[in-house]
Symmetry: C2
Subunit: 754 residues, 2 copies
């Protein structure tokens, strides 16, 4: 599903001339990589895309099945050992959807809920098999109720509404996309007593405000809407009825009604053409400034009993559908039981040209090139596993069910999972496990940017430096700019939250993971998850000539080759230690801020400041008092981070000194220790409310969705003022870090001949 690419946020990296000594530890085979590059053919990838996105490719669609067969045939023809592994997943598809304004200005009005073909885009005319407006895993039902506009539908918005005296209880909410993951909007509406939810795409975010609407430009046309999953992935991804284990054909299943990740209220997505009619029908207070989008209306909150009323109905087919993962293997010559796993999903919401086929064709280009290399004599030292995932869009079903099914084997064998998804023109962005930051920088230094000819690392470095110069007040941009301006420093990689297939590997199994893509210049946001994400749109606006599909294949293919063939570990653990130390600083500042916020609110409430400050003609209640925030004892984490830094430095130094000359048996022993190294970050207890998420360093946020929270047990507890949890997870997270340091100490002992 890969939300819009955010290259300025997800940053990546650079291996530098100055770092040659480190690179030499496990020097890449330049001749092999040059040969590999020569086998990458962007035009061929474009042809594959045209075929694969020719018809709707959602889970269970006929063309999805055809694409699985095509992918299987490709792998086999290129010499891979490939098979289709099918899971049977719950995936509801709409049987009936209806949305009407039944009372209020503009009533009666019936929302379109379908996306008409646009001139010049032949794909968009292939409406056979295309599903109407829906979001997966909402709660079927019918409701007729007053309408309330809840802005982004995030917690802060409900606080603002509460102060305005507007309740959503018994009402239908309309929320705009943005500021948090889609699924949180109906979930929070449901938690606040709403009986239905509508999500719309405001033109400010991806419509006419940012570019001419498609087909003139790349932006979302008024009838275009964003589908997506609203299964509660903050609890766990994967099939809602097989929590934590694979949804094989005969698997036992939780009753649908009992699954905590399926919502209870009917929910539909709409375009801004329809939304404008609904929003213009609202009365009640003028919406606060932070609620206003770019429609040519005065946004009101609504909620009055005499105002607008809408009828919303959704009925779905809840039968199980097949999810066809295609799994292909190139067996390692020396370490067949050490796996490098690489994946990209294959299912889409409609034609899915950008999301996911743009990434899928890059992966297949790599697979073809690796197969060709294998046919001419090269054979990887370790086993390479390529996966074409199905059913990612409904909530990472294909990858999660596979990972859960093969958990034990993966934990024993997989040393890394490398993911990609939507891809477009622009800048490299990489997120993942920070011990791989140096490795990512090294790879990025060796791949040329298609548009400028410099390395993708140098282009990103330039962009970060210019962004800092052009935004003098932006402290985050300034920090990145300082790093970018110093050619002796690596560019940072970002922490991973969720939103694509790495989640089960990183957060449930504890495998080192990377998520790689290009973007920021090709414009894909305006057709995201709509019927206009077509071959035509992608070729015109997102990646003309598929040049960046080629660049992605060169980056991720190189990662696969280098990891599969590495003589000594590519990790530098000091980067992980530094990064975690930075997270701890952030969390401490967060705790200070929360304490100050609570104290300030108590003080202001005591003197009645809110009532004095408020406009008496727009009555607002006082904000709720905040519980006093204790001083937290961070000593366990301080100690763990200090130990981690020491152990990481010792390992990095020992590796530099001893690595190159290490005897083969020792190398194998070292690999055996490090293969499970990232798994040491897991705790069996998992995170509060969601034991499936076991990684104590990286998680998707409970109130951000895709967005990452680092040190999540501690950080989110402080954010949500669960101070008992904060205390417990300071200890638990420190344990995980100490365990990680112990793993490094063991590895150092191997290096030093222990």
């Amino acid at each position: 599903m890969a939300s819009q690419l955010r290259p300025a946020a997800l940053v990546c990296a650079a291996a530098l001339a100055a770092l040659a000594p480190a690179a030499a530890l496990s020097a890449p085979d330049a001749a092999l990589e040059t040969k590999f590059d020569g086998l990458i053919d962007p035009a061929e990838m474009g042809g594959w895309m045209k075929t694969m996105s020719a018809e709707p490719i959602h889970v269970g669609a006929p063309h999805n099945r055809r694409n699985a067969e095509m992918t299987l045939a490709q792998f086999r023809s290129w010499g891979w050992d490939a098979r289709i592994e099918t899971f049977w997943v719950l995936y509801p598809t709409p049987k009936e959807v209806a949305l009407e304004l039944v009372e209020g200005r503009g009533a009666p009005f019936r929302a379109t809920l379908s996306e008409a073909p646009v001139p010049g885009d032949e794909s968009s005319s292939r409406t056979r098999d295309q599903l109407p407006a829906y979001v997966a895993f909402q709660g079927d039902g019918e409701a007729t109720a007053p309408l309330v506009y809840v802005n982004y539908g995030m917690p802060a918005d409900y606080e603002a509404l509460e102060r305005l005296g507007v309740s959503v209880k018994g009402k239908i909410v309309i929320a705009r996309y943005g500021a948090g993951w889609r699924g949180l909007k109906p979930k929070l509406a449901q938690d606040h007593g709403a009986v239905g939810a509508i999500i719309y795409s405001d033109p400010r975010d991806d419509g006419y405000a940012v570019d001419d609407p498609y087909p003139k430009g790349a932006a979302r046309p008024p009838q275009g809407f964003q589908r997506g999953s609203v299964a509660d992935m903050t609890l766990f991804p994967g099939d809602p009825t097989t929590p934590g284990y694979g949804s094989t054909k005969d698997a036992r299943r939780v009753a649908r009604e009992d699954s905590p990740t399926i919502l209870k209220i009917p929910t539909l997505p709409i375009g801004y053409g329809d939304a404008q009619v609904l929003l213009a029908s609202l009365d009640g207070p003028v919406a606060p400034a932070s609620f206003r989008g770019s429609l040519p209306i005065t946004y009101h909150v609504g909620g009055g009993d005499g105002g607008a009323r809408v009828r919303l109905k959704v009925a779905s087919d809840w039968s199980l559908k097949p999810a066809h993962n295609v799994i292909a293997t190139l067996k390692g010559r020396e370490r067949p039981d050490e796996w490098v796993v690489r994946g990209n999903h294959r299912d889409g919401w409609v034609f899915g040209a950008t999301d996911p086929i743009s990434g899928h064709v890059a992966m297949m280009g790599e697979a073809k090139a690796l197969g060709a290399l294998a046919k001419t004599g090269w054979r990887p030292k370790r086993t390479i596993v390529y996966a074409s995932w199905d059913a990612e869009e409904p909530m990472l079903l294909g990858s999660t069910e596979w990972a859960e099914t093969h958990a034990a084997e993966l934990k024993a064998k997989a040393l890394v999972y490398i993911n990609s998804d939507s891809n477009g023109r622009g800048f490299l962005s990489v997120g993942g496990s920070h011990a791989l930051q140096r490795f990512v920088n090294q790879v990025a230094a060796d791949v040329a940017d298609p548009q400028t000819g410099v390395s993708v690392r140098d282009r990103l470095r330039a962009a970060l430096a210019v962004a800092a110069a052009e935004q003098p007040g932006n402290t985050r941009a300034a920090a990145l700019g300082r790093i970018a301006a110093d050619p002796t420093r690596d560019l940072p990689i970002e922490a991973l939250g969720s939103g694509s297939d790495y989640s089960a590997f990183l957060q449930n199994l504890g495998l080192a993971s990377l998520n790689v893509g290009f973007g920021g210049e090709g414009e894909s946001g305006g057709v995201y998850h709509s019927a206009y994400d077509t071959y035509e749109h992608h070729s015109r606006f997102v990646d003309p000539g598929h040049a960046y599909a080629g660049a992605l294949a060169r980056v991720t293919g190189r990662m696969v080759i280098r990891l599969a063939d590495a003589e000594v570990p590519v990790q530098r653990y000091g980067d992980f230690a530094d990064t975690v130390a930075g997270y701890l600083d952030e969390v401490k500042r967060l705790a200070d801020g929360k304490r100050e916020e609570a104290a300030a609110r108590t003080r202001l409430l005591a003197i009645g400041a809110y009532r004095l400050a408020d406009d008496p003609t727009i009555p607002r209640s006082d904000p709720a008092p905040l519980p006093a925030s204790p001083q937290l004892d961070f000593a366990p984490l301080d100690g763990a981070v200090a130990r981690l830094r020491t152990s990481a430095a010792a390992f990095d130094q020992a590796l530099a000194a001893k690595g190159p000359g290490l005897a083969p048996a020792r190398r194998k022993a070292l690999d055996a220790v490090l293969l499970r190294q990232e798994q040491r970050l897991l705790r069996d207890r998992g995170l509060p409310f969601r034991p499936w998420y076991r990684n104590m360093i990286y998680a998707p946020g409970r109130f951000t969705g895709y967005g990452a929270k680092t040190l999540p047990g501690v950080r989110e507890a402080i954010e949500e003022r669960r101070f008992e949890d904060a205390r417990a997870y300071i200890v638990l997270t420190a344990e995980a870090l100490n365990d990680y340091a112990a793993g490094l100490d063991a590895a150092t002992a191997v290096l030093n001949g222990g």
Copy 2:
């Protein structure tokens, strides 16, 4: 003209229980003030407004003359010695205005250029004498040329356009209101070679994006446009043909063609209804993100030869018009030659209910109450002068010509000028001379807020504290919040730039000045300078019941009474010293920032970073290199500020110790020294490019217009990289501060018996 009230920016203040000893130095006469308060009658003020804003009241309009006669009669009936003092000012009024889209999408289209009556607003139907769309002191002419959208039309916008390869030479620009004073837009367009300019009100700023358009709500309707002056006030205000002296009937005059403050290109204002047609006709690049408003279109820059072309024509009547100031005096009993001057303008663009009548009726309410007090035995110690200014809107003509005509007498006698202008519901905001900051706080502590009953100081304090709590990332809000949360600290007053009648007094004559108003809750922005600024709009949306006209009268009337009767000086010079020290810190940081910016740009240009960072499909040229920025020697200013702090502290202490027991002759001597104290901040050379502005501490910005620049000779030179000027004005500004400190030393000597 008083741009939209900005209460969060212009902040004011609080006398505190803890400060009673200081207040006691010149204790206010509480019984007198209670009596004064009892004489303030908001309902009566509302009646005056209804009469005064019943017909158009621009300069030279029949109803403007009637209002002058009414004001004169009121003063006289209340016992004041009053007269009308008429100047003959250049004030061009439109004879012919035309704007057409002649080529491009939507052509042919003729812009409306008039404001139709709206239902429920009887005033708006009185179109007799109403003038069509125009801005005063544009350059008459006719042009037909391609159209270019220049965003706000500020320097940064032209830099962005230049990088996009878009020139305005020979073209007509369309700019939106905002981000800088109106007159800078056609001026900068003219400087860049444009042949015409259009200024429109984007709905994002004061239209449907902020409230329902009038008459449903208070916001600007699509046909509403903002008139205003575009005379180049950054050079000097007042009649363009009598620079620096009074435009009396027989005054010699500069030829109109030779006046530097009259623009050379035709310019018109339009509403967003018309603007949408023009903007939708543009092609060329999609506008950068910072250019986008809230119209339901994709904003393009235009500028292509084959695209939109418009015809623009303006022809004006350039005859002299009479400006009738009404000047009223209540003679002082003991110090008739020390004056407290109070003024508000009386002319408007159309009906002018909010701007300026809302402030004018408050001033007249004070005048009536002071007259009544005088009839029952009270007589001010010093002379009080009230002024009802005409011709403020075209560029402060009435007040400036009066100040220039009476300059010598004012410099010898006036100890303060207190101004008001548009006024509305909300929070007190005061700007002015910082030696009066404590005085302002004391007054604000003694006037009750009409809506909450607490003092207007305490309400503002609450608002600032809440604003800080609700905007945790806003450093300015946080700084104000820290002050507001500490009841022992005064709230700061803001520096004055321009935009109302204080300018000549503060910046040319060097009189201590204050500008006082309420606002922030009453919504006046949407009708600002339009035909919908009516009694009906004001009474519904801006100040229902005219309660804040009453509050303004109580604040400014108190200021007048206390200053007129003060036994010892009300100033606390330490506040001025602290404020100037803060400005110096800002200017030093600015210099550092400019140096870093130049260095960063040089570095980025050298490595070609801009080209690497830019999207190659949207070609942009490199930004221009910046001249190397030298280290400036701030020692003269450091020394002057240190001396100022010492001298101010010595005076404040001596006043506290000796003031209360000072013999009458010494008091008079002290007043004589301090009366000219603020004039010591003037330098005859004036500011670079604009010698009329002589105050070295406060000025309107060359590229902000109304917005203040403090230490302007130094600050603007650094901003504009005129480093020779920066060096010269470091010395000159230090001289002014040393002179000011010497004045304080002289006053301290009087206190200490010297």
